[in-house]
Each structure stands twice: as C-alpha cells, then as structure tokens.
C-alpha cells in the first residue's frame, strides 16, 4: 500500500514570497490533515478535511494560509506571503477513521 506522498521535500524562500505544498493521501482515506511542526515542538493541527469539505480550520492563520482538497483526494496548502516564523516542517496525514498515517513532510525555510 502506497503511503502519504508529499512534495516538495524541501523549500527555501524569502519572506513575503508565496509557497505551495502538495499532498496525495492514501487511497480511500476520507480524512486529511495538515500539521505544522516547528523545530523542537510537536506537530500542531492547521486544518482537517473530511472528503473535500473543511471540518476544522480554527488554527489556520487565514490571513496568509489557505488550503484546499480537490475532489476529496489531493490537497494543497499555500502560504502567501510567508513570514520568518513560518519556517517549519509541514506534515500531511490521512486517515480512514481514527489512526492517522503521516507523509515525510515538507521542510520550509523562510529567509
């Protein structure tokens, strides 16, 4: 069974630039999550999708972050404009119900 795929693996941008991350979940998983993991901390939930609808985006900084899940499958997370404090690993996870399966993440460095 293929795992959760994320791209790119690494990204370096200057502050105020925009960036997008892509996630392809495990086939058949209805729930998709985006987490932000800042160095030295545990992952923090940004947004949760159920199929192509948003279940919870209460912790997403909506002034600069946006996310969508196309046709209930792939998802993209965008940051525009990026700030220095957005430097982190962005993890995508998918779940059939309870257990979440994580991708390898995208490491973003904002300089």
């Amino acid at each position: 069974e293929a795992g959760v795929a994320q791209s790119p693996r690494y990204k370096i941008i200057e502050k105020r630039q925009s960036v997008a991350f892509w996630c392809n979940p495990i086939s058949g998983h209805a729930t998709l999550y985006w987490y932000q993991q800042i160095l030295g901390q545990g992952p923090k939930l940004l947004i949760q999708f159920q199929n192509n609808g948003v279940v919870d985006d209460s912790q997403l900084p909506k002034d600069r972050f946006s996310a969508e899940r196309l046709k209930g499958v792939d998802s993209t997370l965008k940051i525009q404009p990026a700030k220095l404090e957005d430097s982190a690993v962005y993890l995508c996870a998918s779940s059939p119900e309870v257990e979440a399966f994580f991708g390898q993440g995208t490491r973003l460095t904002v300089v």
Binding site: Y33, G40, G42, P43, L91, V98, E99, F102, G103, Q104
Partner: protein, 117 residues
C-alpha cells in the same frame, strides 16, 4: 482543551538498557492515546495505540505502553534499546468520539532519545 506533557526533553541510554518515556495528558474523558516515532528527516510512524480494554498495549519494534487512568499517564517502555531506536518520540491524544473535529491529534513536545553504543 486537551494537552499532552512529555517531561523529558532528551534522554540518553546505553544500548541494551531498558527505556521508559513518560507521557501525561489532560483531558475531560479518557481519550485515544498514541505514541509516534520520528527519525531525522522523516515523517511520524505509529508505534502503538490505546483505544480501550487491556491497559498494557504492545506495539511495533518491541515497544509497549501502559495506560494508567488514575495518573492520566501513558508511558512508553522497551526492555532493551537498540542503537536504531535513536529518534524523537511523540505522545499524542485524540478525542474518543466520532463527529466533526473528531480524532484530531494533540501532540506533546517530544522526547529525543540518544543511544550510546
């Protein structure tokens, strides 16, 4: 709101020694409990989970964890550590109900494990 505390930021053990990583949670009811492991540059891999029933759960790679309701704890143990166990370990909780916002994970800050050969 739920929270997870992992009191040890960094633990160093010798190869072959036993290991216990501590995890305490704060939640209104008994949540679902998880331990994940993260190797450098990798995503999170599930080691084990507790939903209900037997409070001692077995996981992959020889790990086990014990749920203690009275102490709100879910400590991870391994009787003999291998050098390949060096990684960061995260305890996590999620609400034990279905519905909107269900099963979202709240993570602790992690414990980094170093293993001396």
């Amino acid at each position: 709101a739920q929270s997870v505390t992992q009191p040890d930021i960094h633990i160093t053990v010798s190869e072959g020694a036993s290991l216990e990583l501590r995890c305490n949670y704060s939640y209104g009811a008994t949540p679902y409990l998880f331990w994940y492991v993260q190797s450098p540059g990798q995503g999170l891999q599930l080691l084990l989970k507790y939903f209900s029933g037997d409070t001692l759960v077995q996981g992959i790679k020889g790990f086990e964890a014990e749920f203690k309701r009275s102490q709100s704890s879910f400590n991870l143990r391994k009787p003999s550590v291998h050098w390949s166990d060096a990684a960061e370990y995260f305890c996590a909780v999620s609400p034990a109900y279905s519905g909107a916002g269900s099963y979202q994970l709240t993570f602790g800050k992690g414990t980094k494990l170093s293993v001396i050969p």
